[in-house]
Subunit: 159 residues, 2 copies
């Protein structure tokens, strides 16, 4: 059932084999990205939360906790730290007094931009060592990665 063979004519891999290959590669990409961020002051979850706020705009606290896979109290404290550092801002929701809306500050965006610029320089140095064909394959896969990440996000936050 899993490998029907239908609809896979475009790639030389079955869906199952592609998924298995991707999992291994994603693991290695995680290691790669971590090696580029070792001098970070912020935790991985904090950076990831800032990235979500940057991409998707203000969000309530509980939604952020769910998205990042941490508990509500953990997110309360994480946002408190980001606020303390001036990277995020908390605002009450006019429509519902219980809700806290969290948003990224200009300083938060600057932090992300700085971080990405540093990482881009490292990645660019690695890319320069690759075959042109490999570089082209990565460039051609960017929008597919975007689609994959979006599918994951929509699956995690169905409503």
């Amino acid at each position: 059932m899993e490998n029907s063979g239908e609809g896979t004519a475009d790639s030389q891999l079955s869906d199952g084999a592609l998924a298995a290959g991707l999992v291994v590669m994603l693991e290695r990409m995680v290691v790669l990205l971590r090696s580029l961020s070792q001098s970070d002051q912020l935790s991985a979850t904090s950076v990831s939360t800032l990235g979500t706020l940057s991409r998707e705009g203000p969000s309530r606290l509980t939604a952020l906790a769910t998205r990042q896979g941490v508990t509500q109290p953990a997110m309360t404290q994480l946002i408190a730290r980001l606020q303390e550092s001036g990277l995020a801002r908390r605002e009450p929701d006019p429509a519902d007094g219980r809700v806290v809306q969290v948003s990224i500050t200009a300083e938060g965006r600057a932090f992300l931009a700085r971080r990405r610029e540093q990482q881009s320089r490292h990645i660019a140095a690695l890319l320069a060592q690759l075959d042109p064909g490999h570089r082209a394959a990565l460039a051609a896969a960017l929008s597919a990665m975007d689609a994959l990440a979006s599918a994951s996000r929509d699956a995690a936050v169905p409503a």
Copy 2:
């Protein structure tokens, strides 16, 4: 200087733009992979260390610490936990009495296999939602990701 335009004819992106795009996508891949592993008993560093031991064979403790970007004492304790769980094994080096050689056990390999299988099922479900063209692009990029990760590893461990 960064976007010379030379040697980028194969991809429609400059090296700088490709690097910048990749960094953003890698961030999102990290979030994706984390969402697939939320029920893990082991820390991300522990899983990553097991993966390194699985791919590259036995390694001394300091090398593992460097590779994972943690301190020597942290790796001492991490390996103690893996050993406690039966996932890794410590052995003295016959050639140098100071050295500890760490290797993955059969149980450790089974843990990784189980974990990857679960993640593959999730990824396969996401892949099924993508355009065939996107799936093909991801399949075509697997070996390029491998090359990128290897370049990073070789840069981090030059000797």
